[in-house]
């Protein structure tokens, strides 16, 4: 029941915030803070009580929803979703606190939308029924659309429309894929269901699996986003209010990564292997192209937005290299990027509140005015470039090592991204906080509220960087589960089976012949090669 409570508390909070918002603007803030804190507490208490977390599904709850179509209200928690949930509630609290002074109009409705998005995200991380998953997936969209469209900056309307159309169009493709999977499973087993655990072993032929997987990929790759489909991201991030950018970058993008790990790889083990080279290529392209564009921006918020594209490239690269190290890296990257990029967006928001510009050329020399802010900015820029000791370093190192096992070339290319990251990150620090003073801004340093927010984020990123073991241990069973699915299928696949029989002399008398023949050929080629070399030497 805990899982249902988590969502219900957020929804109740949302409606309460809206209702009380008409009377005062303090109540919605307090209610949202309370709802998110209660959720975080529930999860933490649960973790402390049920240690160690080594079961494959920690909590599993299933209720009927639309039985006529085999749709159930199926929520379950495993290590991966646990990590993501803690991140969600933690950053949710932070997004309420940073909006405390920034959002002054329509406060009730703002918090209503905020909590509704978080409820949607919570649902996405928990649902094990594909229909329910799509339901929550779409539930995140409308309030996010309002968040950008109502409280955003100058070009909010076009940015919010773009965001909605991109995600909705790709989401519909996933929807079709989900229904196709439902029928493929139904026709082959007679059991028509949207339940993830039932659909896991669905037998499909190659092209079908590929097509259905592409439907899923469309939604996840747009959300992540991957390079040719990333167009909505810079606009949406730039125009959204700070809390909106924070949630977009830190949580919404993670739903795409989560979808890859939870659905694409386990549901389509062999098709995803076929797709892996393209996936990795897209990842590397994202890393390099995102970094290049980040470097070229003059709008600070846009710059940070493009770094997301670059960092998310590592995630897709890791996902398609199918080994444990890389997957651990992906999990850490999801958390670390959420914290570090979120912190950078908060910083941009704080700057904008003070000097009312995001133009990087009009800043400079701000360190003198606001040393604490400068220090925070420095820390998170360092995190973004992957300085050892901070979370992103662990993540990117693990991913690169993992990818190196799978594909050396990709790994080498991706590591170039670290250099590019260094360049754009240092540029932030140099242009904003150091360098020549362009204008005489009068600005205050961080207030106590802002210091508290930044301090908690700094602690989190340091903890991830110095002692990531708890996160890794929590997510490990889920990762292994995903990878095992992969291995099972690749062993069971008919091609490898026949090869096994052919090449094992003990089970097939013909084989000895084949093997002998092979060895003859081998010798033949060898002798030829030797003779060639002899000839060369002779010449």
């Amino acid at each position: 029941m805990i899982l249902i409570y988590l969502i219900v508390i957020l929804l109740t909070g949302a409606f309460l915030a809206w209702i009380t918002g008409k009377k005062s603007s303090e109540w919605p803030r307090i209610i949202s803070l309370a709802a998110l804190s209660i959720d975080l507490l529930i999860i933490i208490i649960y973790v402390l009580n049920s240690f160690p977390l080594d079961k494959s599904w920690l909590i599993d709850i299933k209720l009927d929803w639309i039985p006529a179509f085999g749709i159930s209200f199926h929520l379950a928690l495993d290590g991966l979703s646990l990590v993501m949930l803690i991140l969600t509630f933690f950053l949710g609290i932070i997004s309420v606190i940073i909006s405390w002074k920034e959002i002054n109009s329509k406060v009730g409705f703002f918090h209503f939308n905020l909590l509704l998005i978080l409820a949607g995200i919570t649902g996405v991380f928990l649902s094990l029924d594909l229909f329910l998953f799509y339901f929550f997936w779409e539930l995140m969209l409308v309030p996010m659309y309002f968040l950008i469209g109502i409280w955003g900056h100058e070009n909010k309307t076009s940015a919010s429309n773009k965001f909605f159309l991109y995600t909705q169009a790709s989401g519909l493709l996933m929807f079709i894929a989900i229904i196709a999977l439902y029928f493929v499973h139904g026709h082959s087993t007679g059991l028509y269901t949207f339940d993830y655990l039932q659909l896991l072993g669905t037998a499909m032929n190659g092209p079908t699996a590929m097509l259905i997987m592409l439907g899923f990929l469309a939604a996840f790759l747009v959300k992540l986003p991957v390079v040719p489909l990333h167009n909505w991201l810079p606009d949406a991030h730039t125009e959204a209010p700070t809390a909106g950018s924070l949630i977009l970058a830190a949580l919404l993008l993670k739903t795409g990564a989560y979808g890859l790990l939870r659905f694409v790889v386990p549901l389509f083990p062999s098709a995803s292997v076929t797709f892996a080279p393209i996936g990795m290529l897209l990842g590397v392209a994202g890393i390099l192209y995102g970094a290049k564009l980040a470097f070229a921006q003059t709008d600070l918020k846009r710059l940070v937005a493009y770094t997301s594209v670059s960092h998310m490239g590592f995630v897709i690269l890791g996902v398609f290299s199918f080994n444990e190290l890389a997957y651990q890296g992906v999990v850490i990257q999801m958390v670390a990027h959420g914290i570090s990029t979120g912190a950078l967006f908060i910083l941009v928001g704080q700057l904008y509140e003070r000097i009312h510009t995001r133009d990087i050329n009009r800043m400079g020399g701000l360190w003198e005015k606001a040393p604490v802010m400068g220090a925070i900015g420095l820390i998170f820029s360092m995190a973004s470039l992957g300085l050892p000791g901070l979370g992103n370093f662990v993540a990117e190192l693990l991913i690169l090592i993992g990818v190196f096992k799978a594909n050396v070339l990709m790994s080498c290319l991706a590591s170039l991204g670290l250099i590019a990251a260094t360049i754009y990150s240092l540029r932030i620090v140099q242009k904003v906080f150091l360098g020549k003073k362009n204008t005489d801004w009068t600005m205050n340093d961080l207030t106590i509220r802002e210091k508290a927010v930044s301090a908690s984020l700094v602690i989190a990123i340091l903890w991830l960087g110095l002692f990531p073991k708890p996160v890794l241990d929590t997510a490990k069973p889920a990762i292994l589960k995903t990878l095992n699915k992969q291995k099972e299928i690749s062993y069971e696949s008919p091609v490898s089976n026949s090869e096994k029989i052919l090449c094992d002399p003990s089970c097939n008398p013909l084989c000895t012949f084949v093997v002998k023949n092979n060895s003859f050929k081998h010798k033949g080629t060898l002798s030829k090669a030797q003779s060639n070399t002899k000839e060369e030497q002779d010449n």
């Binding site: 009927d64 929803w65 639309i66 039985p67 006529a68 179509f69 329509k106 229909f131 799509y134 339901f135 779409e138 539930l139 969209l141 409308v142 659309y145 309002f146 469209g149 109502i150 309307t157 919010s160 429309n161 909605f164 159309l165 909705q168 169009a169 519909l172 493709l173 929807f175 079709i176 229904i179 196709a180 439902y182 029928f183």
Partner: protein
Amino acid sequence: MTEKDFLCLVPFLILATVPVVIMIVVSILRNYNVVFGFSVLSLLAAFSSIFFIFPSVPHAIEPLFIIDAYSLFFLGIIIISALLVTFLSYDYIKQLTGVREEYYIVLFTSTLGAALLAVANHFVIFFLGIETLSISLYILIAFQRSKSNSIEAGIKYLILASVSSAFLLFGMALIYTASGTMQFTEIVKSFGAGSQLSPIVLSGFGMMMVGIGFKLALVPFHMWTPDVYQGAPAPVSAYVATVSKGAVMSVLIRFFFNLKGFDNQYLFVSISGIAILSMFVGNILAIRQKNIKRLLGYSSIANMGYLIIILLTGSDKGIQASVFYLISYFFTTIAAFGVIALLSTNEYEAEKIEDFKGLFWKRPGIAIVFTLSLLSLAGIPLTAGFIAKFYVILEGMNAGLMVLIISMIINSVIGLYYYLRIITMLFSSGNESKLPELSFIGNITLAITGAGILLLGIYPGWLIDIIVRFVSL
């Protein structure tokens, strides 16, 4: 006529008697509230009589009617929608100058026509129903005689509907010459169904499709839709979009499934073509509209395009999907036109998109209902429209209609674009226009439709169970 026949016809008797009674009452005492109250009570009585009939179906009254669970379901939907439209009309009609009570008389006759279509098993009833419906609609559409828009819409509908009726009649005649019977179930027996349909029957059905396509506003018979939707009083537009279309759809489904038209490749291809054209034309033309009533008109063209996909599934499941789709579409459309009706006054019709600017900050309740209905039209989760679209896509894919489903998906995205435009307007700030005070009845109606949209969107299981249990041909 047996007792059972009589029982089965009670709802129709109620619908037929009420206009006469109102006429007599009005000639003695003109009181708007009395007439309104009486209409509402009679509709409720007609609706509750359905439950008394229910145990004795299926029952055929040879040769004209067939009363089964399917037709009772449609009857219920039609009466409920008529009831909601009556509620919406209360304030809108009340503020008109001149005669007002006659509006309800005509509303009843048109509902009678629509109800006849749901039980028709014979060309005579089919045509009688469609003409009763149409002739009443001419009056309803042109009810605001002082407005040129309204007169124009009425005349346009009159002329085009007459032409389409001629096509319909000619088509029926052709089929009659080939089969020698006008009863749906007998037609099939006389020359087989599906792929064995003879050319003369095919051309007859083609002619009929012109008439039916006109009523459903399918491309290329859709030209009247935006003008009529714009010119008619808002509650009447809602009525045209829901009751009239739902009733025609019910008879089309019955006839087409009896004929097994989905097995005939010519019919299959032409219906697919009409469906795809309707989706694309409706949605693309809607993008540039500045008038919400016109926009909803175009969107209804697209919606009917989605719905006739069901004809090609050829299964009871498809019919069940169409019933769910119609119910959700009815709630959604009545909510949308209800908002327009409630915000309009005698002098000023709130129909431009700018009129709705910042509505959310002034009248949150009404804006939420409008947003819900737009999201439902766009098929976003939490609303009835999402489940309805899901149901149609599910059954469409089950029948392997991938091309149609993919064009439906593409169109959902196009549609989203213009719905979003209105929603953005609702939530943007700054509005100088004055809004009329809302009445109690109007608020209740909007609350009912809004709650319906949410209920069917969040917990549709019970309705789907009921539909799956009872609706089949």
